[in-house]
């Protein structure tokens, strides 16, 4: 096992953490609430090539690996950046995959991808399929994107998102201050794929999303721990720093261990996407479930050890606490992700293993 990063990866991380340190400060994160989207930050991210990097070179992108993207996503989590990096990257990868797998509809995917790469259009995806005639609920970035990819029955469509209040989109105020929207499928939605290919494309995209969100949750958990550790070193009770009490130190030690474990698992899942395809989907679901639990516990403990201050809006730990839950639960609770891991590990319910 080798956990070292390449020089290029280090530069990538530096570029994103540098940008976020300047443009995603806790003040800016708060200022972007409740919508959870900062157009200026989004523009900066566009200049860094955030979406282009996620797409293969043969489709006009930069061909970053999922490990590269996971490194970026971890920074996204650390700074709880108000910009839908993960959804748009995953949607762009989905468009690229659709452009090369479904001959009859590939031109729609290819032209949408071209617009995305040109920075003319923001495309996101719905994480859950909807029944024909149904509405996609809580679509990540649905409140700010220009279009969403949705699996409707066995049709994968790209549906345009109109102005707020139109029938196509309704923004949802939410725990994580994420730009979520309930999205209706427009009459002029275009098909990207249909049948098993459509289902397969969304499933593969979901694997990517799970890995990257796992990495983002690692960043959230790690940052929450740092805040908690700083606080308990400073804060005194009965004349000593509260971090010297085992009742405080031990849960933090458990969370440090869990967050470290979730980081290595997220990177293994990202690595597996390229190098161990037979386990990639299983590991993606495991990484997500485990990172969600670890970030959930780390943010809770950190908030709690801040005492009453942790409960105040003024303290930053609440920003992390809310997003640790929202970024994960917009897909599902950890137990559901474990069941997805089981589906990939044992085959579907009723299968022969």
């Amino acid at each position: 096992m080798d956990l070292s990063t390449t020089t290029e990866q280090d530069q990538l991380v530096d570029a994103f953490s540098g940008l976020y340190r300047k443009h995603s400060t806790p003040e800016q994160v708060r200022a972007a609430e409740p919508l959870g989207f900062d157009p200026a930050l989004w523009a900066q991210l566009g200049e860094l090539g955030t979406t282009a990097m996620a797409v293969g070179e043969e489709h006009g992108g930069w061909g970053a690996t999922l490990v590269d993207l996971a490194l970026v996503a971890e920074q996204q989590g650390r700074f709880v950046a108000p910009a839908p990096v993960i959804e748009t990257q995953v949607a762009a990868r989905l468009l690229a995959a659709a452009a090369s797998t479904s001959p009859s509809t590939s031109s729609a995917a290819a032209s949408a991808l071209a617009e995305v790469l040109a920075g003319d259009r923001m495309v996101t995806l719905a994480l859950h399929p909807v029944a024909a005639g149904g509405r996609a609920g809580l679509v990540p970035a649905g409140a700010v994107a220009d279009a969403a990819i949705v699996l409707v029955g066995d049709r994968l469509v790209l549906t345009p998102l109109g102005a707020e209040g139109t029938h196509a989109r309704r923004t949802v105020e939410n725990l994580g201050s994420m730009p979520l929207a309930d999205v209706s499928i427009a009459d002029d939605a275009v098909d990207l794929a249909s049948g098993p290919a459509a289902v397969g494309l969304l499933d593969a995209a979901l694997d990517d999303w799970l890995v990257l969100t796992a990495a983002a949750l690692v960043g959230i958990g790690a940052r929450a721990l740092e805040l908690g550790v700083e606080y308990v070193k400073e804060r005194k009770a009965w004349g000593v720093p509260i971090g010297s009490f085992q009742a405080v130190a031990h849960p933090l030690a458990d969370s440090a261990t869990a967050v470290d474990g979730s980081r290595v698992l997220a990177y293994k899942a990202a690595w597996a996407a390229g190098e161990q395809p037979e386990r990639a989907a299983e590991l993606a679901a495991m990484a997500f479930a485990y990172a969600a639990e670890s970030a959930r516990d780390a943010t809770y403990r950190s908030l709690h050890f801040h005492g009453g201050y942790g409960f105040m809006m003024e303290y930053d730990v609440q920003l992390l606490y809310r997003r640790a839950r929202a970024w994960a639960n917009v897909y599902a609770e950890p137990a559901a992700a474990y069941r997805r891991a089981a589906d990939k590990r044992y085959g579907p319910v009723g299968g022969d293993r």
């Binding site: 096992m1 550790v229 070193k233 085992q246 030690a253 161990q276 479930a289 137990a335």
Partner: protein, 387 residues
């Protein structure tokens, strides 16, 4: 980043499995379990013959040829997976390490060749009836008498003490100074008057001992390290212990439960493996196996990089033992009433291994530094929290 295994892994793993299946007969497994003694002469003889008893130890002391790191990992994993009777070898080697590091030339000559050829058993004598995690408060006394020392006291959990040749004994040589400063280590020959081992039986079936030392005389040449500097010797010994991982045992537990779920049908005719609750529990435990392996892998990787995994080693011990406790408890509950059937009893599902692991897991978060001690280390050295 690279998580791939060596391409030769599968072949070597198959070789190890074949060897272990051959050597660890059902009779041996049952004997080890019924006696609770994790030592078996036949097993050690087979390992020796294969050249796998002491791989990587210096040839001048009788070590076997080096295995490649991936081979060593696989051998360790597979032996843990089948509960091979390894504790005597483990403690013997831990002490041999200490001797190599801090022992006299004479002691090395006398002990190491025998230790590395499975001719002697050495055991740990740290814990006492009144002190466990707080190792440095040991009371077992050693008093100088000319060229000899006279030892009086008791040691607790001296596993394999009833069959051992030597005990690596932590003694108090100066009761008048701070507790860390009055300790001295000895390698005490056990087959002599005044040494007595009394069996202590545990929930996992493992037999350990309380050992008594009454006016036991040892020559000064059996001392390891300086007089009153035993703590330095000890801390080096404890460092070795802290990177243990129980991942392979949890992996075996999960494997057995998966096999059970695939072959068991509930009253409604549904396969257990098709029950969403069963699937959730199995996938969760399988995830914790992954994390156990990865946290250990990270500590090993740091070692390879020349970095000391000061907090990361303890994290591996802490996480993997706690994960085993969690998995054993949860999967025991998952299996329902049949989980009660005892290990190796007729009709027990998967030979009753869930019962076995439930019992076995309890010791893992205690010995080699309790979880509380590991959390202290992680908090202080990893997070920089004050003592």
């Amino acid at each position: 980043m690279d998580f791939s295994k060596d391409p030769r892994s599968d072949a070597f793993r198959a070789e190890v499995r074949e060897f272990l299946a051959d050597v660890i007969t059902p009779e041996m497994e049952e004997r080890v379990y019924r006696t609770g003694v994790s030592h078996d002469d036949d097993f050690n003889a087979a390992l020796l013959e294969r050249g796998w008893y002491a791989p990587g130890w210096p040839a001048e002391w009788g070590g076997d040829a080096d295995l490649e790191p991936y081979q060593q990992d696989i051998l360790d994993e597979e032996m843990a997976r089948v509960d091979a009777p390894l504790i005597s070898r483990g403690t013997t080697f831990a002490i041999a390490h200490m001797i190599l590091r801090a022992g006299t030339e004479e002691m090395k000559q006398e002990i190491l060749p025998k230790a590395l050829r499975a001719e002697i058993i050495m055991v740990l004598g740290f814990s006492e009836p009144e002190s466990g995690s707080d190792v440095a408060s040991a009371q077992c006394r050693a008093v100088r008498d000319g060229d000899e020392w006279v030892i009086n006291g008791q040691k607790m959990f001296t596993t394999n003490g009833h069959i051992a040749d030597y005990v690596f004994l932590l003694t108090r040589t100066n009761p008048d100074v701070a507790k860390h400063k009055g300790l001295t280590m000895f390698l005490v020959p056990m087959k002599q008057p005044g040494v007595e081992a009394q069996g202590v039986f545990t929930l996992s079936g493992e037999r350990t001992n309380i050992t008594f030392y009454n006016d036991v005389r040892v020559d000064d040449r059996w001392r390891i390290g300086e007089v009153d500097h035993g703590w330095q010797v000890m801390t080096a010994a404890l460092q070795d212990e802290h990177t243990a991982s129980f991942g392979p045992r949890t992996a075996r537990l999960v494997e057995e439960c998966e096999a059970w779920a695939a072959e068991t049908v509930d009253a409604a005719g549904r396969r257990k493996l098709d029950d969403p609750d069963v699937r959730t529990r199995l996938a969760r435990a399988a995830t914790e196996v992954e994390v156990s392996e990865l946290v250990l892998g990270r500590a090993e990787w740091m070692n390879e990089q020349g970095r000391v995994p000061e907090a990361e080693g303890p994290m591996s011990k802490l996480y993997s033992s706690e994960a085993l406790v969690r998995a054993a408890q949860d999967l025991h509950e998952m299996m329902g009433p049949d989980a009660l059937r005892s290990f190796l009893s007729p009709g027990a599902p998967r030979e009753g291994r869930v019962d076995h692991y439930l019992r076995y897991s309890l010791g893992t978060t205690i010995y080699a530094g309790t979880s509380e001690v590991q959390r202290n280390i992680v908090a202080q050295r990893g997070l920089g929290l004050p003592r």
